[in-house]
């Protein structure tokens, strides 16, 4: 392994970690354990480093400041209610995190478990992966797609990553983020959605410039 490979490997691990973090935060509500980890030293250092990039700073500051307010069970429940209203119920008045709802025209609520779900299952299968049984969601759920990019960061070449992100994530992420910003009654998920959008955009720029 030469120096360049080592650099690449380190960078990809870092990228994978960011995707993993974003996937986890979209996968479920913040509970005591996640809160504990996110407010721990390691995560704070990680987030601080991420925030050194100006495009991410404001949203990371928001995330950190919201996390710091979660001192009581009630505060956690309020944030869980934000999560629920955005991602767990309905579609039109919320920001359901399924690719299919954003890729098939804005007025039409496509039934779930359709084409995008099948496509993702194929990708996963090719990579010898599947969605955890403890995560009973369609495979075109944002958390699944982000977790798959995490996997690609560590296991595939840049062109594969670029193609996947462009045609399965970046093509709807903007609309999704806009919907979160429109519907969120709090600040956390707005910031998270914006951060995700900005992160993916910057990651794509890098991949393009490097490939």
């Amino acid at each position: 392994m030469n120096v360049s490979d080592m650099n690449d490997s380190a960078v990809n691990q870092a990228r994978a970690m960011v995707y993993r973090l974003l996937s986890s935060l979209f996968a479920k509500e913040i509970d005591h354990q996640i809160l504990h980890e996110l407010t721990g030293e390691q995560a704070q250092a990680f987030l601080a480093q991420l925030a050194s990039e100006p495009a991410f700073k404001q949203d990371i500051d928001t995330l950190i400041s919201v996390l710091n307010t979660l001192k009581t069970d009630k505060a956690l429940l309020e944030l869980a209610a934000d999560y629920c209203g955005l991602f767990l119920v309905g579609s039109k008045h919320s920001a359901s995190p399924y690719a299919s709802l954003y890729l098939n025209g804005s007025d039409h609520e496509t039934p779930l478990f359709g084409e995008q779900h099948q496509q993702m299952l194929q990708f996963l299968k090719q990579s010898k992966l599947q969605v955890q049984t403890s995560f009973p969601e369609p495979a075109d759920h944002l958390a699944v797609i982000l977790a798959y990019v995490e996997h690609l960061c560590l296991n595939s070449d840049k062109t594969t990553q670029l193609n996947f992100i462009e045609s399965n994530l970046n093509n709807w992420l903007g609309n999704f983020a806009a919907k979160v910003i429109e519907c969120d009654s709090g600040q956390f998920y707005c910031a998270l959605a914006r951060l995700t959008k900005n992160w993916v955009a910057s990651d794509l720029d890098d991949l393009k410039s490097e490939s």
């Binding site: 960011v18 993993r20 478990f113």
Partner: protein
Amino acid sequence: MKRRDFLKGLVSTSYVVLSGASVLAPLNALAAAGAKDDDVWLTTGSHFGAFKMKRKNGVIDQVIPFDSDKYPSDMINGVKGLVYNPSRVRYPMVRLDFLLNGFESNTSQRGDFRFVRVTWDKALHLFKDSLDEVQTKYGPSGLHAGQTGWRATGQLHSCTSHMQRAVGMHGNFVKKIGDYSTGAGQTILPYILGSTEVYAQGTSWSLILEESDTIVLWSNDPYKNLQVGWNAETHESYAYLAQLKEKVKQGKIRVISIDPVVTKTQEYLGCEQLYVNPQTDVPLMLGIAHEMVTKNLHDTKFIEGYSLGFDQFLPYLMGESDGVPKTPEWASKICGVSPEVIRDLAKVMTKGRTQMMMGWCIQRQQHGEQPYWMGAVLATMIGQIGLPGGGISYGHHYSGIGVPSSGAAAPGAFPRNLDEGQKPIFDSNDFKGASSTIPVARWIDSILEPGKIIDSNGSKVTFPDIKMMVFSGNNPWNHHQDRNRMKQAFMKLKCVVSIDMNWTATCRFSDIVLPACTTFERNDIDIYGSYANRGLLSMQKMVEPLYESLSDFEIFTRFAAILGKEKEYTRGMTEKDWLVMLYNDCKAANAGKFDMPLFEEFWKAGYVYFGEGKPWTRHADFRNDPEINPLGTPSGLIEIFSRKIAQYNYDDCPGHPTWMEKAERSHGGPGSKKFPVWMQSCHPDKRLHSQMCESQEFRETYTVKGREPVYISLADAKERGIKSGDIVRVFNDRGQLLAGAVVSNNFPQSIIRIQEGAWYGPVGPNGSKEGGAEIGAICSYGDPNTLTLDIGTSKLAQACSAYTCLVDFEKYRGKVPEVSSFSGPIQVNV
């Protein structure tokens, strides 16, 4: 390369940000090989018919009608949209303020508030704790778990049975009597004809086709309503309707549709329509009866031999008792049918064989008992009750009534009640002086006015003080009247639990919402044809329950386990054990008469057929010998005058059929100056009540700009500057809704139709998504029960009166809000 440096900086911070598992896992061997049973066709059934489904890549791919269904309903095209609906209830959820404050929560914003996901364990414990609290603080009169509805098909997983058995193991509760569909009919007819009639098998269509000269469809649209059945519907009735169409064409049978509007059946058969003003069928019937007596057309022999009380009715008919002879001229002024036509009808109906077929709509109005009673009197005067192709039927539009029964024994079902010897944990039967059973449509009255005493079918009902309600597979925020009254009532409830598959309005107005899987995510068996009993269907699981939804069996088995009663609940049997037992019991009951294979063979084949039944005539045995085969009335005869009802001394339901003015009535009746238009809210053409409304792709085959259609006459449309495709605001003093205009020749002036079952989707002022829970909020989709009147039909049945409803409407010119009905609970900024 600056960016790479930035990323390397990230690496240096830490390799572990979150220790939790990824949502991805290595592909396990089974999944890698691909599901073995993929790409297969399985048999199942539903209210909409039996069908086959193909599973591909783990999801339902195709739905095609069952081979033997020659007249499938296109509603099966909506099935996939139910299963994969974006508004599925995905996880157990609790309204946040209820989670925080329980019975002391702020209920004023129920229906418009925030939910959080909880685990099944947490949700079921919360459910149990709430039941504990209501039983401890208020006793059984505080809990109403008896408001039940159409459920999904299946003998094992029937949601009503599961919920009531499990909740019943915890404690006693208030129950309902009657139903919204036929509340007035099923209460009055036992007094008159000795059975509910509405749910009784009717004379076989083949006999009607052979023997009838005239068929009178009275407010009856079988071609529309026979698409759905209580069990998997066979649609065999349509073959008979096709023959009837041919006979109408050949002039062999005259079919008269007495109805204010051109029905789907009338259009199909190409038959005659006799227009009658809404809610005035009784005057029309009285006019016909008067003419029969005047011209001596009635069958006095039959009246004498088979009925009781004509003598007490006659003075009213002829005007001797009240000074108002019910002449065709008198009737004409009210019902809008000319005296000549009324006279002609009396002649036509008494000449040759006449089969009267009543629909259910006209008994869903104030005094809804009367048209059914008077219909029976007319049929008695015609004298053909008990003859093939004659008499009166109250159900030929329902669940295949009129298709001969095979005679086979039907399978049993999962028990709704506790087994013998089982006792609830809270075994008190102290309803604190209140009634333990209340008329189905009076539960909102009960919540709003606890302690009030009302008359009901010869008894007194004292309204219980209801504090908690449990709904399972039931959406009263569709079928009950007057949403604004419902909102007031729901504010008084301490706890509401809903178990359903998609976010109905009832779920949205609940505190605890539990996700049930659909019919297609569990194994079951069903009767094929509720009345034909043509055979048994296997309902084979197509896919595993989606998200964290569970079958009703599983939900309440877990709940029973929390009560420490799991074994009592399941009798120690699994889903499979139950299916085998229900099947084998049925097989044993049919032994020697109908051959049934072993369970495994049946399951593999998908069905077992019992063959066709023999033609049969309703009331023929009574006609043959009324002494040996009396009716179930007090006298054993048809009761034109009911001494029992007369003794009740009800001003709104006297001892014989009577015309009484309505609280509101169009065409010159009370209230018609302010709100001139009658709104009918009949059973839908493209849904089963509210089932299937959420299936978007299918819904889009009939909506107008995404709204429920409102059918409007040409004259009304012109007067109000409305054209098809416009959005219309329909309103009265009770509420308002938006709907999409369909201008149609089938509707006369001052009559509109909005089919019931349109999902309630209230939005706040100026169409904002907040404020939908407020009194007066506009329904963005077009639920007609936003506007209907919430009163009992009379002191007798106390049934729903949705058809007594006046409105007005206008072209909507405001900012059009998004439809909020299908979006789950709406997040509100706090």
